[in-house]
């Protein structure tokens, strides 16, 4: 079956699952299908969504980034440190947060391309390094006293939560980029067959560096948004965020072997995970059980998908 048909089928199937789960939740709870709750779901998924879009780029090149959660914390701390009232205009802490993330991503990228170290190892290292740096810079305590300009980033703009707007524009931009930019095509080529891409004249190193750098930049954005939402720079924030993000991407049909995947798929994966989290919360399921259920659903979804792809 041509790849296009399979992707359509895949997206269609995932969309059906999301609608079915939503339908079920609207029956068993009174609150799921309310504007307030759905807005809440959208707000909750935005951070995971921004991370998932970023890591989609890395996974497409057949890489991986395990440092997302730690870099979220580090960027949040860096942002909060420059965000005390009256210190700087609001753009400075935002830029510091974004650049911190981008720098971590570029370091990952340089080590993967120039150093030739496996992405798993590089980003595993970055995971503990960034966490350590976040603790060092914050002295192990939350960085509080943030200006209201910055914390207002967690508020609404024309009735829509700003984090949701961030996620929406990031996802749209990424979708457009992968479809229409030369570099987007190169990302698929590098992930599909790195050696063949190099032989065809694709600048493989630069492409990978871009993917890791962009992923880092978006991780920085997620860190800023999170800091605004919890009004502090938390050095312990973002634990295991990378797992939800990678799970969403893989549920969305992106291959861990690289070269196959779409932003639309990632978007649906993010929505499914958000919906499940929200449903379990509404049902009052304890967080211990939530963890187990979520794990089962993630593996189950991917298993079903791969089984379908094989047949």
């Amino acid at each position: 079956m041509p790849a296009l048909d399979r992707h359509l089928l895949h997206r269609f199937g995932l969309l059906l699952v999301i609608l079915a789960v939503g339908l079920g939740l609207s029956f068993v709870t009174d609150t799921f299908l309310s504007v307030a709750n759905l807005t809440n779901v959208a707000r909750q998924v935005s951070i995971n969504g921004i991370l998932a879009v970023g890591v989609t780029f890395v996974l497409l090149t057949a890489g991986v980034d395990l440092s997302l959660g730690s870099v979220v914390a580090l960027s949040g701390v860096a942002c909060a440190t420059f965000a005390h009232p009256g210190d700087h205009t609001v753009f400075i802490p935002i830029a510091v947060g974004l650049l911190t993330g981008a720098a971590c991503g570029l370091v990952n990228g340089v080590l993967v391309t120039r150093g030739g170290v496996a992405p798993f190892i590089v980003t595993l290292g970055m995971m503990t390094i960034a966490r350590g740096l976040a603790l060092i810079f914050s002295g192990g305590r939350p960085v509080a006293n943030m200006s209201s300009e910055l914390t207002s980033l967690a508020g609404d703009f024309l009735g829509v939560p700003i984090p949701v707007l961030c996620f929406a524009s990031v996802a749209t931009g990424a979708w457009f980029f992968l479809r229409n930019f030369r570099l987007g095509r190169h990302i698929y080529a590098v992930g599909g067959n790195e050696n063949a891409a190099r032989a065809a004249g694709v600048p493989v190193e630069r492409v990978k560096l871009f993917a890791y750098g962009l992923c880092g930049l978006l991780t920085g954005l997620a860190g800023v948004v999170l800091a605004a939402r919890i009004t502090t720079g938390q050095p312990n924030a973002g634990q295991a965020y990378e797992l939800d993000a990678i799970a969403a991407v893989v549920i969305g049909g992106t291959s861990l072997a690289g070269g196959v995947g779409t932003i639309t798929g990632t978007l649906l994966g993010v929505l499914l995970i958000g919906e499940i989290n929200n449903g379990l919360d509404l049902q009052g399921v304890s967080s211990y059980y939530q963890a187990v259920i979520k794990g089962v659903i993630i593996v189950g979804a991917v298993w079903l998908d791969r089984r379908q792809a094989r047949s």
């Binding site: 790849a3 930019f181 030369r182 095509r185 698929y188 067959n193 032989a199 004249g201 694709v202």
Partner: protein, 491 residues
């Protein structure tokens, strides 16, 4: 006996094998002939349990046997040697040969000496001198092929399906394989065999089945056919001389290579290439041909020596440098260094020259689609649509797509490394005429080919390599196969 009964196979709405019935008798060598995309590999893969048929069924020893997996087929006694080699690179030769059938001791531990012994016996059967403890990844393509054959022999199968087993083999290795096939036949083993080499078919086959466009044209005893008749059945028309006429080259030097060296692969390689000229690098397997052309394309730069292109010295760090200068290449290793399997045919074709279909950094999808359509038509690439993943196309169509990719950037020097390996006569003829067309339009072609008739007919000059050095430079108009071989053989 093994029977295909009305077998049908579809891929993405395209029927690649129309209902086909063939009978394979015990102890016969049965050749499946046809152009690329004719359905030979597909038929074999259904017989070997790799593909499930979309219609009809397989009958084995009088009962219906639709194998669910290659393992089922193996257990039933049907083994296949694939055209695309599938070794496990970090296991040893012995481990690869006995894979899945390791001799085991009492505690399920692998009996290493027995494993090694078994591998040695099988390699000896093929008269191959390969050390069983070597890692697969250190082997040449030809040696890998021999190991794959040994692996299938070791299964004690009653039917062995061989898909292009000799594509990468040297003359001696082919002869050894043929002797081994004769011994198998004497034991009553059925061999089903595909090849694009005419002489092999008539040396080996008892019966020949011809497929064309996914349909069986017919089965007849080999004694009732001759090469001309067979080609006519395969292509459905008579092929006149498939080599187009050469025009004399110009005097303008395009490429000048001096003392190019990368030990231990090659040393002091010097030659010139003029506009309008086709030069072939000839030599035995391992003589350094691929390594030399890879250096000129920047894939694996030389350690010393000089490459002058269009009169200027060229420093190459990677293929990007070569492409920027106007050098394009179609690599020998289609799967490893050519195809991006998950991308569509069209996106594979435009990969190298994508910049030409861009405004700034953005792809102009309309311009790209137009270019793809015209190239697919020009090279007669058969596919359901330009977005069909290239991995699903036949070898010949993949090769034409890679040639199209290389030429789309309009390079002045085109390097073709074994451009016709494992592809059918129709596709070969198209590639030959493309090569002459390039020479006529003032470009130059550097050709690596193991098929001497091809090199002698296409090239103006032949540079013969022997163990990494230039042994002779011959005028193709006066040289013959014997002369080339005499220079190519180690003294």
């Amino acid at each position: 006996m093994l029977r295909a009964l009305e077998l049908r196979k579809d891929f993405g709405g395209l029927t690649v094998l129309h209902p086909t019935s063939v009978e394979f008798r015990l102890g016969e060598v049965h050749a499946l002939m046809g152009e690329n995309g004719a359905g030979k590999s597909t038929l074999m893969k259904v017989l070997a349990g790799l593909y499930r048929p979309d219609g009809g069924h397989v009958e084995w020893r009088g009962v219906q046997a639709d194998f669910a997996s290659p393992h089922d087929a193996l257990v039933a006694g049907i083994a296949m040697i694939h055209q695309e080699l599938m070794p496990i690179p970090d296991l040893t030769v012995a481990e690869n040969i006995t894979l899945g059938a390791e001799p085991c001791g009492r505690f399920w531990q692998i009996n290493r000496p027995a494993q090694r012994q078994r591998a040695l016996e099988l390699l000896k059967e093929l008269e191959a001198n390969i050390e069983p403890d070597r890692l697969m990844r250190t082997l040449t393509v030809a040696q890998t092929q021999v190991v794959e054959i040994a692996k299938a022999l070791g299964r004690r199968a009653d039917v062995i399906l061989m898909d292009e087993p000799t594509a990468a083999l040297s003359e001696q290795e082919v002869a050894a394989l043929f002797r081994s096939i004769a011994r198998l036949k004497a034991r009553g083993v059925t061999i089903v065999y595909t090849t694009h080499k005419m002489d092999e078919v008539f040396k080996l086959a008892d019966r020949i089945s011809v497929l064309r466009d996914g349909r069986l044209v017919g089965t007849s005893p080999a004694s009732e056919l001759n090469p001309a008749k067979l080609i006519q059945l395969m292509v459905g028309r008579e092929l006149a001389d498939i080599f187009p006429v050469r025009l004399p080259p110009t005097d303008e030097v395009l490429l000048e290579v001096s003392n190019l060296t990368r030990e231990p692969a090659y040393r002091d390689i010097s030659f010139r290439l003029h506009r309008g000229e086709v030069v072939a690098l000839a030599g035995l397997m391992g003589a350094g041909r691929t390594e030399v052309v890879s250096a000129i394309y920047g894939l694996q730069p030389a350690t010393s020596g000089e490459i002058r292109f269009k009169g200027r010295p060229l420093s190459l760090r990677d293929p990007q440098d070569a492409l920027a200068a106007g050098i394009g290449m179609v690599t020998e290793d289609r799967k490893g260094l050519g195809l991006i399997p998950a991308l569509g045919l069209g996106q594979n074709v435009t990969l190298t020259a994508l910049r030409e279909f861009c405004r700034g950094q953005m792809i102009d999808h309309k311009a790209e689609a137009v270019a793809i359509r015209s190239r697919v038509a020009e090279f007669t690439i058969k596919a359901t649509s330009p977005s069909q993943p290239i991995a699903q196309l036949s070898g010949g169509n993949q090769q034409k797509a890679l040639l199209a990719r290389c030429l789309l950037g309009d390079p002045d020097l085109i390097i073709l490394d074994e451009p016709t390996r494992g592809i059918d006569i129709g596709a070969k003829a198209e590639i030959y005429s493309a090569i002459q067309g390039l020479a006529r339009s003032g470009k130059a072609v550097l050709l690596v080919s193991s098929e001497l008739p091809e090199a002698l007919s296409l090239a103006h000059r032949i540079v013969v390599l022997r163990r990494g050095s230039v042994a002779a430079t011959l005028d193709a108009a006066t040289a013959d196969q014997e002369t080339v071989l005499r220079h190519a053989m180690p003294l």
